[in-house]
């Protein structure tokens, strides 16, 4: 068991070093999030009607951007894994006496660090443009913890995706097609009430919505008014944790199994 842990740390370290050496990857975790924040607050912000009890669009919307960014962060996992498969590196790993699961476990562990970086960048940017916390330190830390947990769960799902598709380009497209609607058909950027009825139902059950509402609550900003009276919207914080658990329960075993079948014969 200690071998699994040790090998996981080695792989995680390698993935983090790669991020620091690849400037384009680093951009994805720093500049891109900043761009998103500025885009949504200043370009879209004026056109979207948010409930009046918010101090400003930044307060409403930063949790949404945080969650969306975390969801997209898993992309890098899928891409990197697919690339490793195509070059000889996975073969080298497999010919070594290392724990098999460490390849995936190390990659998803490294994602926690990159997600943390994104969270810091986004939060600082948000604070600069007018976002403010209205909660105690404990709740704020709980919110950050929830974000990291969600990111971890999502990166396992993305690892599965990276192992299912045939090429890095396919990983890119499929991932985008999957995540993009998921993050937008939610309460992340607009109040659910403003959507057509069918989408209101979809959005209300969407794990992204539960996450965003949970973060809003934990960061001390009021939750958006509930459009459909479903349990996740009434109790977003426990719902968010439950969704994370479900994602992990599905993602981890499937990804590990897929890794085994994809790389052995």
């Amino acid at each position: 068991m200690t071998r699994v842990l040790a090998d996981t740390l080695v792989v995680a370290e390698r993935n983090l070093v790669r991020v620091t050496r690849a400037p384009d990857l680093l951009l994805a975790f720093t500049v891109q999030p900043i761009m998103f924040v500025l885009l949504f607050v200043y370009v879209f912000g004026g056109a979207i009607r948010i409930p009046a009890f918010y101090d400003g669009y930044a307060d409403f919307m930063l949790p949404g951007i945080l969650v969306q960014n975390i969801a997209f962060g898993g992309f890098v996992t899928a891409l990197g894994l697919n690339e490793d498969l195509h070059k000889g590196l996975i073969d080298r790993f497999r010919s070594l006496p290392m724990a098999r699961s460490a390849v995936l476990a190390g990659r998803t562990l490294a994602d926690i660090a990159t997600n943390a970086l994104s969270i810091v960048v986004l939060t600082v940017t948000g604070l600069v443009i007018g976002f403010s916390f209205h909660a105690g330190l404990v709740e704020i830390l709980a919110g950050v913890g929830l974000l990291l947990l969600f990111g971890y769960a999502f990166s396992w799902v993305f690892a599965l995706l990276g192992l299912l598709v045939s090429s890095p380009e396919a990983a890119n497209s499929v991932g985008f097609i999957a995540v993009f609607p998921l993050t937008f058909i939610s309460n992340a950027f607009v109040p659910i009430k403003s959507m057509p009825n069918v989408l209101q139902w979809v959005a209300s059950w969407n794990p992204i919505s539960a996450m965003v509402a949970a973060i809003r609550e934990l960061f001390g900003n009021p939750a958006a008014p509930i459009a459909k009276d479903v349990w996740p919207m009434q109790h977003p914080v426990p719902a968010a944790f439950i969704y994370c658990a479900i994602l992990l329960a599905i993602g981890v075993p499937l990804a590990l199994r897929r890794f085994r079948t994809r790389t052995t014969d």
Binding site: R21, R92, P97, M98
Partner: protein
């Protein structure tokens, strides 16, 4: 049981006389394609076996099975006494693999690559680092040790790949086409390094398309074609079967001249001359005086010669002799790549 080997090779260890690698009846198919169709060979401890064959012959598949990357459909293989399927985890501590696609992380530096591999063998970081520096010195990569591997030349990458295979000082080394695509100088340097490793007692299984590489490095050669071993022997035995040098005569004109040339040259060898358009090829057993005699005979027969040369046998010659056809690449090379 063990193959004959030269006396200069040191015995690698105080174990029984089982060969380091024993392969028996190995079969592996990818869909319709039979990559391995009943392969048998053995490699004595501390010696080098060259697996010689064209692309798609099954060389890479065989190596991947032995390196525990693929499971065979049938047959058995044992490396250092361990079964490649049943004892795979334990076996991985005793083998090193270096291939045509240098399996190194391009974003990491040379040293970081070797330290990572060392740690994945279970060594603590300081030990892995020391071993890494030792290998970098041996492979003359110290100056580049702290540069990302993507800045390395092709020869340097191969050396780093080989270094990575050697981190745990494995008694058995698998080299899959180690010099394909390298410039001549890098090839020779790599050959020298491999010879040093073998002198230290490492058993090497080497796959190659090049007869000169097999000739130089291998104690014995197994020629593999379409998933089967079609010949097995020392380099000298193989060259004898193939007939040694070839006299190649390019005639100034086709047709009747070729027939006259064949008639003039035929007495020079036990084997029949072969005609291909304006080229007559004759296997000969010696070098001395061959060119002079050939020129004289052709001159006496009144044959006009454009070019005349004595050349060493190539893989095509080997295959032509052994199989009656030239070394073919199968229609679907992708199985080798995807394996």
């Amino acid at each position: 049981m063990t193959n004959a080997r030269t006396e200069t090779r040191a015995d690698a260890g105080p174990q029984e006389g089982e060969p380091a690698i024993v392969v028996s009846g190995l079969r592996k198919s990818f869909g319709e394609v039979r990559a391995l169709d009943g392969v048998d060979f053995e490699v004595a401890r501390g010696s080098v076996l060259g697996l010689l064959g064209p692309n798609g012959a099954g060389k890479t598949t065989a190596v991947r099975v032995l390196a525990t990357l693929l499971k065979p459909d049938a047959g058995s293989a044992r490396v250092t006494g361990l079964d490649v399927v049943a004892d795979a985890p334990r076996l991985r501590e005793r083998i090193g693999l270096a291939g045509q696609y240098a399996a190194i992380d391009e974003n990491l530096t040379g040293l970081e690559n070797l330290v990572m591999v060392g740690r994945l063998y279970g060594k603590p970081r300081p030990v892995a680092t020391a071993r890494g520096m030792e290998l970098l010195e041996r492979f003359e990569l110290v100056d580049a040790a702290r540069r990302p591997a993507k800045t390395y030349s092709g020869g340097m990458r191969r050396r780093l790949d080989l270094a990575a295979a050697l981190v745990a000082k494995p008694p058995v080394l698998f080299l899959d086409e180690p010099t394909t695509g390298l410039d001549p100088r890098s090839r020779i340097e790599l050959w020298t390094t491999i010879e040093e490793l073998v002198a230290e007692g490492t058993t090497v299984l080497l796959t190659t398309q090049y007869l000169d590489e097999a000739d130089r490095l291998a104690d014995s050669i197994a020629v593999i074609d379409r998933g089967r071993v079609i010949a097995n022997g020392t380099p000298d035995e193989l060259k004898d079967r193939v007939g040694g040098e070839r006299l190649e005569v390019h005639l100034a004109a086709n047709g009747a001249a070729a027939q006259r040339a064949v008639a003039a040259l035929a007495p020079m060898s036990d084997d029949a001359p072969m005609v291909d358009g304006d080229t007559v090829t004759l296997p000969v057993r010696r070098r001395t005086g061959v060119i002079v005699e050939a020129v004289r005979r052709l001159d006496e027969a009144g044959v006009e010669v454009a070019d005349l040369a004595l050349r060493r046998p190539t893989l095509d010659d080997v295959f032509l002799t052994l199989t009656g056809h030239v070394a073919e690449t199968p229609e679907d090379e992708d199985e080798e790549m995807a394996a």
